[in-house]
C-alpha cells in the first residue's frame, strides 16, 4: 500500500463572536495517499478554504487531528509547522501571493533559500522555463500578467519537490483561456512529480480532472466520491 500523505480525522472548526458560536467545519475526515489528486468543492462559504488552511497547518482546529506525511501537526508550534510546510508542502493561491519586492526567479527560490541550503539558480530557471517564463526570469510581479504571475507561483510551489500541493481556487482570478493553460500545467507537473494534490474549487469542470471529489456544504462533507471520468475521456455535456 502506498504511503499516507494527508490524514484528517474528525476535523472541526468553530468561531466565536460574542455569544454566538459559528461552526464552519464539522467532523471532517479523509485520507490521501502518495500521488492522489482530490478536489474539494462546494458553494461559497461552505468551509473549503478553512479546511485547506487546517490541512496545511496554517490555522488551528477546534478539535480533530491532522497529520502530514506521518507527522501529527496538531501539537506543533508555529515555527515547527513552518518547517513541515517548507519540507513537504507546496501552495498555489487564488491571488497568487507572490512577494512584490522579489523578481520571478527570486520568488521561485524562496522555499529553497528558507531551508538554508546552497541554492542553485539553475533549478529555478529550469522550472520557470518549464512553465514558459524563461524570458521573464528577472521581472517583478507587477510587470507580469495574472496568468504569468500564477505560473511563477506554480513554479515556486514545485521547487522544493513537495509531497503535497494545496491549491485554493488557482484559477479563480483568471479568464477562461488562461485558466485552462494554468490547469493543464498544474496537472502535468503534478503527475511528473507524483505529488499529492488538494485542489479547492467551486468549478466543477476543474474538479472533474481529479481522481476524487469531496463535496462540502455548511462545513460538512456531503459526499466523497471517486471520479470515474478522468480528463482523457472528459465530456462536459454529461456533467450533472
Amino acid at each position: 500500500m502506498s504511503q499516507t500523505i494527508l490524514s484528517v480525522q474528525d476535523l472541526t472548526k468553530t468561531y466565536h463572536s460574542g455569544e454566538q458560536t459559528l461552526t464552519v467545519l464539522s467532523q471532517v475526515s479523509f485520507r490521501l495517499s502518495e500521488g492522489d489528486s482530490c478536489a474539494i468543492v462546494g458553494p461559497s462559504g461552505s468551509g473549503k478554504t478553512t479546511l485547506l488552511g487546517l490541512c496545511a497547518g496554517l490555522d488551528r482546529q477546534t478539535s480533530g487531528t491532522v497529520s502530514l506525511c506521518g507527522i501529527t501537526i496538531d501539537s506543533l508550534s508555529e515555527d515547527e509547522r513552518a518547517k513541515v510546510r517548507n519540507q513537504f508542502v507546496g501552495f498555489v493561491f487564488q491571488n497568487f501571493q507572490l512577494i512584490p519586492t522579489l523578481t520571478a526567479l527570486e520568488n521561485v527560490l524562496v522555499p529553497l533559500e528558507l531551508r538554508g541550503e546552497r541554492v542553485n539558480e539553475k533549478d529555478g530557471i529550469e522550472l520557470l522555463a518549464r512553465v514558459g517564463l524563461e524570458k521573464r526570469v528577472h521581472h517583478y510581479p507587477t510587470q507580469l500578467s495574472g496568468g504569468e504571475q500564477q505560473r511563477v507561483a506554480i513554479a515556486r510551489s514545485f521547487i522544493n519537490r513537495p509531497k503535497i500541493l494545496f491549491a485554493d481556487e488557482p484559477t479563480g482570478n483568471l479568464d477562461g483561456e488562461t485558466s485552462e493553460k494554468i490547469e493543464s500545467l498544474l496537472f502535468e507537473l503534478n503527475r511528473e512529480a507524483k505529488t499529492t494534490l488538494v485542489l479547492v474549487t467551486h468549478n466543477l469542470e476543474l474538479a472533474r480532472k481529479t481522481e476524487r471529489i469531496i463535496r462540502l456544504k455548511n462545513g460538512m462533507v456531503v459526499s466523497d466520491t471517486m471520479n470515474e471520468m478522468q480528463e482523457t475521456n472528459f465530456n462536459p455535456t454529461t456533467a450533472p
Partner: protein, 852 residues
C-alpha cells in the same frame, strides 16, 4: 532569533525586500536624522567648550590668583599682598559704577569704571582698537570705552568723555576683556581710565560701591591654592574673597556645562519626536508587509526569520539616517559657537569631535531601533493564514507582550538621559528625581496629545456630522479611516508647536516680570549715591526739570557687632564666624512695608519714641537664615563707630525681581535719623528723551550721582532674552523640522493608499478639485488640532511654571499663539497637499495595476 540574524538568506532577503521601498524606508528613518544632528552638534559644542575652558584657563582670570574686596584692603591684608609681591607679580584694580557723559553726543550712561595699576592681565590680552590703546592708556588723560558705548552713542576715538570731575580723551575702543562675555557689556559697559585720575574724579565718596582687586602672577612652582589657604584667616577677617584660575575655570566649566546640558535636552526631545515618527512609519510599513510575511511563513519561514528580515532593514536604514544626521550635526556644530558667541567668555574653536559623533550616533541608533521595535515586534505574530484570508485580520495584528518591555526600556533610556542632563553638582538621587520629573513632563505631554488624537478619532466617528457637505464629511472621515495619520501627526506637530510656543511664552513671562515695574506712576529712574549735602540740590534739580521726586530713601551703612550676644570677635576666635557677619550693610529706615515686601513673621517696625524703647528691626528671610536668627533674637550693630543694640521684630520676604532699591535690614524710624547717611532718589521720566535730559542735567550738576534707567534695563533684558531665545529657538527648530520630516514621511507613506482612493473617486466622477479639497480639509483639521493642542499645552505649562517656579500669575497673550497656529496649519496643509500631488499625475490604470 540570534541565529536568524546571522543567516545569510535573512540578509539577502532583507536587501531584496527593501528594493522597491528603499526610498520610502529612508524617508521615515530620516525623522530620526535631525534629532541625531542636534545631539551631535550639541555634544561637540560641549567638547569644544570644555577644551576652550581648559586651554584658556589662565586667561579666564588673567592671573593665577585674584583677591577681591568691597572695601579697601585692611592693613594686614596689604602687608600680606606686599610680602607676596616679593616673589610674585602683582597688579591692582579699582572699579566702581559711575555715569559717563559724552559732551559731543550729549549722552550719559551708567558704566563700570576701572583703573588698573600694574601689568594686568598676566595671561591673555585686553583687545582694543587701536591695538596699542590699552598699553598707552596711562600716558595721558585717556579713557578706553566699551564697544557697546561706542556703538550706542556713535562715539569715536578722539571724542571726549566726562567721568566725575575729569574729562578724558577717548583713546581706544574696548573689544574684548579676557574671561568676560560680550553680553556683560550690555549690562554694564566697561570704561578703563588711568589710576592716577581716580581721585580727581571725586567719585569715591561715602556710600560709593568700590571693588578693590589684587591680581597675582605666581612663580611656576607655587600653588595658587596653597597661597589661598595661607591667606584664608586674613581674608575671612576682612570679608575679602580669593579666586584662583582653577576655581574660575571650574565655575565657568560648570556654567557652560549646564548650558550644554540644557541644549542637549532640547536636542534629545527632537530625537524622541523622531522616534515617534519612526514608530508610526514602521507601523505603516509592517501593515504593508503583512502579505509578504504571511507568504514567507507559508513557505516555511520561522517567525524569527521573518522578524529578522525587517529588523535588519530598520537597523540599516537607521544607520543611514543617523549617519546623515551626524554629518548635518557636524556642520551645525561649526555654526553653534557663533550663535552663542556673545555669551561665551572664551574663544570657542570648531572641532570635529569623534566622541560627540559616537554619542549622537549610538543614542540615535538606539532610539530609532527601540521605537521601530514597538510596531516591528508584531511581525513575529503575523499568521500564515493571511495568505488565504487577507481581509479578515488585516486590521489588527496581534500585538506582542515584548512591546511593553521595549516601551519600558525607552522610558528608562529617557529617564537616564534626562537625569544626566541635570546639574552635576546635585546628588545622584536628586538628579534622578529631576530626571523623573522631566520624563514625567514629557510623558504627560505625549499622553495628552495622544488622548486628543484618540478623542478626535472616536468623536469624529461618533458625532459624525451627516449634514455637512461631501468634501468636509470625507475629509473628516479620513481622520479615523484605517491607516490614518491622526495620532502621529497630532503627536509630532503638536509637540513641536508646544516646544516653540513654550519657549516664546517663557520669554514673554520673563519680560512681563520686568515690565511690571515700568507701569504707569511707578518710578522709572533711580538716582543713588546722593550725599547728604546734595539731597536738596538733587530734589530741586528734579523739580525744575519736571521730574517728580517720588521717594527719597535714606541709606546708612553699618556692620554687625554681635549676634545673640556673641560678638564678631568671639565668633572669629572660635571660628564660627559666617561671612554674613562681616558684610557692610546698607540699611534704610521706615515703618511700613512697600509693595514688593510681605511679612512672614513678627510685626512690622514701630517708631522708636524714646531712647529707652527697644529697637525692633525687620530683616529679610535670607539674612535670617544666614545669621541663624529668629524673631526676638538680639543683633548689635556698629553704626559707623556707634554701637546700637536691636532685636529682630519681623522677618520679611522681598520680591527682588522688582527693580526697586531693596534692603535686607530695615530700622524703625527714630533711630538713624542723625547718623551719617546718603540717599537714593526715585523719580519718573515721561519718556526716553526726558530721561536723557534728566540724567544729563544730573551728571553735570552732581557727577558722583549715578542713575539707573529702568527703560534701559528693560531694553537690555529684552535684548539679552532675544539672544537667549534665539539659541533656544534654534534648538527647538530641530523639533519642528523633525515634525515636518515626520509629516512629509507619513504623507508619502500613505500616498499610495491615497492614490487608490483618489483614483477610485475620480473613476466615480469626482473632479480633481474635489479630490484636492478633501485632502485639504483633512490636513486643515489635523493641523488645527495639532497646533491647538500644542499651544494649549504650552500655555498650561507656562501658567504652571509661572505659578510654581516664578511665583506669579501669568496670562499668556493669545494673539501670537494664534499666529503660530495659523503658521502651523498652513505648513501642514501645504506639505500634506503638495506631498500627495503625485496622486493626480498618475493614470488610474497605472495605479490599479500597481496593487498586487
Amino acid at each position: 532569533m540570534i541565529a536568524s540574524l546571522f543567516n545569510r538568506w535573512t540578509w539577502v532577503m532583507a536587501w531584496r525586500d527593501s528594493r522597491t521601498h528603499r526610498k520610502r524606508l529612508l524617508l521615515f528613518i530620516s525623522s530620526i536624522m535631525l534629532g541625531t544632528a542636534a545631539l551631535v552638534a550639541v555634544n561637540s559644542l560641549g567638547e569644544s567648550l570644555e577644551r576652550a575652558v581648559s586651554t584658556q584657563a589662565k586667561s579666564l582670570l588673567g592671573a593665577d590668583l585674584a583677591i577681591e574686596s568691597r572695601q579697601p584692603f585692611s592693613k594686614a591684608l596689604e602687608r600680606a599682598v606686599d610680602s607676596l609681591a616679593e616673589r610674585a607679580e602683582v597688579a591692582r584694580e579699582m572699579s566702581f559704577g559711575s555715569m559717563v557723559y559724552f559732551p559731543k553726543q550729549s549722552k550719559t550712561r551708567l558704566s563700570q569704571i576701572r583703573a588698573v595699576t600694574g601689568d594686568f592681565p598676566f595671561y591673555g590680552t585686553i583687545e582694543t582698537e587701536p591695538k596699542s590703546a590699552y598699553n598707552t592708556l596711562n600716558n595721558g588723560r585717556n579713557a578706553l570705552i566699551d564697544n557697546t558705548l561706542a556703538i550706542q552713542f556713535g562715539v569715536q576715538i578722539g571724542d571726549s568723555v566726562k567721568i566725575g570731575d575729569v574729562s578724558f580723551l577717548v583713546s581706544g575702543i574696548l573689544k574684548e576683556v579676557p574671561g568676560e562675555a560680550a553680553v556683560a557689556s550690555v549690562i554694564g559697559p566697561r570704561v578703563y581710565i588711568p589710576p592716577m585720575y581716580v581721585d580727581s574724579t571725586k567719585l569715591i565718596q561715602v556710600g560709593s560701591r568700590v571693588t578693590y582687586k589684587a591680581f597675582f602672577k605666581l612663580p611656576p612652582a607655587t600653588s595658587a591654592k596653597a597661597v589661598v589657604d595661607s591667606l584664608k584667616p586674613l581674608l575671612n577677617l576682612t570679608s575679602a574673597t580669593a579666586t584662583t584660575a582653577e576655581e574660575r575655570q571650574a565655575t565657568l566649566g560648570r556654567t557652560l556645562e549646564n548650558l550644554y546640558r540644557f541644549l542637549n535636552l532640547v536636542g534629545f526631545i527632537a530625537l524622541l519626536l523622531g522616534g515617534v515618527g519612526v514608530a508610526s512609519a514602521v507601523n505603516v510599513y509592517v501593515k504593508q508587509k503583512l502579505q509578504t510575511v504571511a507568504t514567507l511563513r507559508c513557505m516555511g519561514a520561522s517567525s524569527a526569520q521573518a522578524f529578522a528580515i525587517y529588523l535588519i532593514q530598520t537597523f540599516a536604514m537607521g544607520l543611514i539616517g543617523v549617519s546623515i544626521g551626524a554629518t548635518i550635526g557636524v556642520f551645525v556644530s561649526a555654526f553653534l559657537p557663533r550663535l552663542l558667541g556673545d555669551f561665551l567668555p572664551i574663544q570657542v574653536e570648531f572641532i570635529i569631535s569623534t566622541s560627540a559623533i559616537g554619542v549622537g550616533v549610538s543614542i540615535g541608533l538606539l532610539m530609532s531601533i527601540a521605537f521601530a521595535l514597538l510596531p516591528l515586534l508584531a511581525v513575529r505574530n503575523i499568521s500564515p493564514l493571511l495568505v488565504l484570508r487577507a481581509s479578515v485580520e488585516d486590521e489588527k495584528i496581534q500585538q506582542d507582550y515584548l512591546r511593553y518591555v521595549v516601551f519600558g526600556l525607552i522610558v528608562m533610556v529617557v529617564w537616564f538621559f534626562a537625569s544626566l542632563q541635570t546639574d552635576s553638582a546635585l546628588s545622584a538621587v536628586e538628579r534622578f528625581k529631576q530626571g523623573a520629573l522631566i520624563t514625567l513632563g514629557l510623558g504627560v505631554s505625549f499622553g495628552l496629545l495622544a488622548l486628543v488624537a484618540k478623542g478626535t478619532m472616536i468623536g469624529a466617528r461618533k458625532f459624525f456630522p451627516k449634514r455637512w457637505n461631501y468634501v468636509w464629511r470625507q475629509g473628516l472621515a479620513n481622520l479615523y479611516r484605517p491607516n490614518n495619520q491622526t495620532l502621529i501627526l497630532i503627536l509630532s506637530l503638536g509637540f513641536g508647536t508646544m516646544l516653540i510656543s513654550l519657549m516664546y511664552l517663557l520669554q514673554a513671562m520673563l519680560i512681563e516680570q520686568v515690565e511690571l515695574t515700568s507701569k504707569e506712576n511707578q518710578p522709572n529712574l533711580v538716582f543713588f549715591d546722593v550725599q547728604s549735602d546734595q539731597r536738596n540740590g538733587v530734589e530741586e534739580l528734579l523739580t525744575a526739570i519736571d521730574a517728580p521726586v517720588m521717594q527719597t530713601i535714606p541709606i546708612v551703612t553699618m556692620r554687625i557687632a554681635a549676634v545673640k550676644g556673641k560678638t564678631v570677635a568671639e565668633a572669629r576666635r572660635d571660628s564660627t564666624v559666617k561671612s554674613a557677619w562681616l558684610w557692610e550693610y546698607r540699611v534704610s529706615y521706615r515703618d511700613t512695608l512697600n509693595e514688593t515686601e510681605t511679612l512672614i513673621k513678627g510685626e512690622m517696625n514701630k517708631p522708636v519714641k524714646s531712647p529707652n524703647d527697644s529697637i525692633k528691626i525687620s530683616i529679610n528671610e535670607f539674612l535670617a537664615q544666614s545669621l541663624e536668627v529668629d524673631v526676638n533674637d538680639e543683633i548689635s550693630f556698629d553704626v559707623q563707630g556707634v554701637p546700637v543694640k536691636c532685636y529682630v521684630g519681623s522677618i520679611r520676604k522681598v520680591d527682588f525681581r522688582r527693580i526697586q532699591p531693596s534692603f535686607s535690614i530695615l530700622f524703625p524710624t527714630g533711630v538713624l535719623e542723625d547718623a551719617p547717611q546718603f540717599y537714593a532718589v526715585l523719580t519718573r521720566a515721561s519718556n526716553d528723551e526726558h530721561s536723557a535730559e534728566i540724567q544729563q542735567a544730573m551728571v553735570e550738576a552732581f557727577p558722583n550721582v549715578s542713575a539707573i534707567d529702568l527703560g534701559l534695563i528693560l531694553s537690555t533684558v529684552d535684548s539679552i532674552l532675544d539672544k537667549v531665545s534665539l539659541v533656544i529657538e534654534f534648538m527647538a527648530l530641530f523639533s519642528i523640522l523633525t515634525g515636518v520630516a515626520v509629516l512629509i514621511g507619513s504623507v508619502l507613506i500613505s500616498r499610495f493608499q491615497r492614490m487608490r482612493e483618489s483614483v477610485l473617486l475620480r473613476t466615480l466622477g469626482a473632479v480633481r478639485k474635489q479630490v484636492v479639497s478633501i485632502m485639504t480639509v483633512e490636513y486643515l483639521l489635523l493641523g488645527f488640532l495639532a497646533s491647538l493642542s500644542g499651544v494649549v499645552l504650552s500655555a498650561a505649562a507656562s501658567v504652571i511654571l509661572a505659578y510654581t517656579v516664578f511665583k506669579f500669575t501669568f496670562a499668556p497673550n493669545l494673539l501670537p499663539m494664534m499666529a503660530m497656529m495659523l503658521v502651523m496649519i498652513a505648513l501642514t496643509v501645504v506639505i500634506g497637499v503638495q506631498g500627495s500631488r503625485g496622486v493626480h499625475s498618475h493614470s488610474p490604470l497605472e495605479v490599479l495595476r500597481n496593487e498586487v
